[in-house]
């Protein structure tokens, strides 16, 4: 039996939690439920009536060449961006940590792309990569690579977007790693030195890398999600072209939902995308967590 005192406390606790719970229901759970329900209908934006179609959209999705291509493109994009974003960010942070006076300058320089609005920056990129007028194309020609069109060649367009995505992500990850590095206690390095870890590589492998575990995990998961959600560069620079080479999941989803108005189908796609993100995050969290050392 619970005492009246405990019951009162439990009631008060519930009451206190209620507003947060209600908000969570209204802002997170209910829209998700609506999304799943919509994905089972043939609803079109503006239509007066709708019909339940069960899992037809999901079946259609996996036979849809456009969706499969978008999935391939997205996975390729993530694979291109992720290693650079994580290890590049870490490398920059390690290099910057040793700087004393020039550190603020580098921090600002690398962080600038994060603060710049991409849509505005895309105009600059568009000019830089212009096949006839842009300095990048001129540079590539100067290097003897011939006529390279980074945005309009279907073989290169996705790689180009990946590089821009990396450029955008690097500074942010660097700052996260710098924070992670500053949290590692000095004594650990001293102790490691006493134990014979003399070279920088030794110190990195024995102390820095294990201690950065939680940061690395966080950076990897957020970078994966960011890369998965690539959208703005696609809209502004290529609109999914040339020949669908840069159509990513989110862009196709946008086309289906907001250009073709197939709301039901777009909802099914969103559910799948969501599933992918959850699965991927769980997988990463599991594998990395096993090796993460929380200090």
């Amino acid at each position: 039996m619970t005492s009246p005192q405990a019951r009162r406390e439990a009631l008060a606790g519930t009451l206190f939690a209620l507003p947060a719970l209600a908000l969570m229901l209204a802002l997170l759970i209910a829209p998700l439920a609506a999304l799943i329900l919509l994905s089972l209908t043939d609803y079109r934006l503006g239509a007066v009536a709708l019909r339940f179609v069960g899992f037809a959209h999901y079946a259609e999705l996996f036979g849809d060449e456009v969706f499969r291509r978008a999935l391939r493109n997205t996975l390729l994009y993530v694979a291109l961006v992720l290693p650079g974003a994580v290890f590049g960010g870490l490398g920059l942070a390690l290099l910057l940590r040793a700087r004393r006076r020039s550190r603020p300058f580098y921090e600002v320089a690398y962080f600038l792309p994060v603060t710049a609005t991409l849509v505005a920056m895309a105009t600059v990129w568009q000019f830089m990569l212009h096949p006839a007028l842009g300095p990048v194309s001129a540079l590539l020609r100067g290097l003897g690579l011939g006529h390279v069109d980074l945005l309009n060649d279907p073989e290169l367009a996705l790689l180009t977007l990946a590089l821009i995505g990396l450029w955008q992500l690097l500074g942010f990850n660097m700052v996260l790693f710098l924070a992670g590095l500053s949290a590692i206690p000095r004594e650990l390095y001293e102790a490691a030195a006493l134990d014979g870890a003399r070279s920088g590589i030794d110190r990195f492998l024995r102390v820095t890398w294990p201690m950065l575990g939680p940061t690395t995990m966080f950076v990897t998961i957020t970078s994966t999600i960011t890369a998965f959600k690539v959208f703005d560069t696609v809209v502004v620079l290529t609109r999914g072209g040339p020949m669908g080479a840069t159509e990513t999941l989110l862009y196709v989803l946008y086309l289906e939902g907001f250009q073709y108005f197939r709301t039901g189908y777009a909802a099914a796609m969103t559910v799948v995308l969501l599933g992918f993100l959850v699965l991927l995050s769980l997988l990463q969290a599991r594998t990395i967590e096993r090796r993460v050392h929380y200090a």
Partner: protein, 430 residues
């Protein structure tokens, strides 16, 4: 005593009346119309037109919503607003989206048929102001849902310096596509780093330019019934072969639409084809680098050939019967000669009103801006911008992909055309 009382009462009544005046004015006289248009850059003519309208109609105030980024975005915003009963009072949908919008809204009783309002103005008014060809652009299923406001058909923009230095005559722009390609080839030969011609259907943001290439050859995108593609015929075959030849013979590179405009403006392309609505923009981009010239779109089939008409029509979507009359006055003004003068001068669009071309409106301006004449000279070639129905944007993306593959030389033109026709038919049924 009595007289004093009356005076006092009268004074009181007068004072009360004076106090109530502004309330009566806003409650009765001032009607505010909520208006939505697409393309933020259009603000530069929508706002002056609204000001002119308000000067002539002090009892109506025009309040613009945040403009939609594009016709498609506007279409989407309108469909959403229809669901939540938040439609604007007047809006300006693109011609190619008008049929779908009108059908969706008519089903829900949220769009006004302008036919009776126009009939009330009388047949003389109709004949004086509009050509039937222009009015047809605003008709859906036999009803006049839209009154055409802006209209345009593609024209050629060319760089007379490149043309002259390649041995062409800048004063006689070719009137056939063979001529355009031959001239492009000469420009390419004279300036290997430039493009002779760029016809960027590989990156244009709608299928308008592709339709133009079919229409000029006498083809149509759809059968008369409008339920199946019809561009698999000789006109379509000629069009897709031209598309490939721009690349192989006239030195076209497959780059983005904006990239094309930029490169043209810096003297890197001899000839491009684009909307006359961009005349002011492209003239600005060129600056003083070269004396930009324009020419009408070459037409192969003189009998059936034409050009698709882009632009938008004014539609009334108010649900408030009290506002209808005010909406109609605004729509009528927008399609009238004064408003058309403002819109045409600021963009390069074609006037949709017959009277606008008169001397007191645009006559002098056309003499000073001969580049705007190219569009006006082909006004009688206007054909509707054909619409594939609900799957239109999707069909455009598919067609653009195949066109790009054909232009790159990945698939032979006729195979590409066959594939386009088959997939269009399939998507129209879906």
């Amino acid at each position: 005593m009595t007289t004093i009382t009356t005076t006092r009462r009268a004074t009181l009544a007068a004072a009360a009346g004076a106090l109530a005046m502004p309330a009566i004015a806003t409650g009765q006289g001032q009607i505010t119309l909520d208006v939505l248009f697409a393309n933020p850059s259009f603000a530069r003519f929508f706002h002056p037109i609204a000001e002119a309208f308000q000067r002539a109609n002090p009892d109506i105030r025009i309040a613009f919503r945040q403009p939609a980024p594009s016709y498609d975005d506007q279409h989407q915003a309108l469909l959403r607003a229809a669901l939540t009963n938040q439609l604007p009072d007047v809006t300006f949908p693109g011609f190619n989206r008008l049929p779908e919008l009108a059908r969706t809204l008519a089903q829900r009783g949220q769009i006004l048929d302008l036919g009776p309002l126009m009939a009330a103005e009388g047949p003389k008014w109709r004949a004086e102001n509009f050509s039937e060809r222009i009015l047809a652009l605003g008709q859906v299923d036999g009803r006049q849902y839209g009154l055409p406001f802006n209209a345009s058909s593609p024209i050629a923009y060319y760089n007379p310096e490149l043309v002259a230095r390649a041995g062409g005559d800048p004063d006689a722009f070719p009137t056939s596509w063979e001529g355009v390609i031959a001239l492009g080839a000469r420009i390419k030969a004279a300036f290997p780093q430039a493009m002779g011609v760029s016809y960027y259907i590989n990156s244009f943001d709608s299928d308008w330019l592709w339709q133009a290439l079919v229409h000029q050859g006498g083809g149509r995108m759809l059968t008369p019934a409008g339920d199946a593609p019809a561009f698999g015929d000789a006109a379509g075959q000629a069009a897709i072969q031209l598309a490939r030849r721009f690349v192989t013979e006239a030195g076209m590179g497959l780059i983005g639409a904006d990239q094309n405009r930029q490169q043209f403006a810096t003297g890197g392309i001899g000839i491009i084809f684009d909307s006359p609505a961009r005349l002011a923009v492209i003239t600005g981009l060129v600056g003083g680098r070269f004396p930009l010239r324009t020419a009408p779109f070459p037409i192969t089939d003189q009998e059936r050939g034409g050009v698709p008409t882009g632009g938008n029509a004014a539609v009334i979507t108010t649900r408030d019967p009290a506002k209808r009359e005010a909406c109609w006055r605004y729509v009528r003004f927008s399609a009238g000669p004064e408003a058309q003068k403002i819109a045409v001068e600021l963009t390069g669009y074609l006037p949709t009103n017959r009277r606008a071309e008169a001397e007191e409106y645009l006559g002098a301006w056309y003499r000073q801006n001969p580049n705007a004449l190219a569009a006006a000279r082909q006004a009688d070639r206007s054909l509707p911008w054909e619409d594939y129905g609900a799957n239109g944007p999707r069909i455009h993306r598919m067609q653009q992909e195949i066109l790009t593959a054909v232009m790159r030389g990945d698939i032979p033109p006729l195979v590409g055309l066959e594939r386009m026709v088959a997939q269009t038919a399939q998507l129209m049924r879906a």
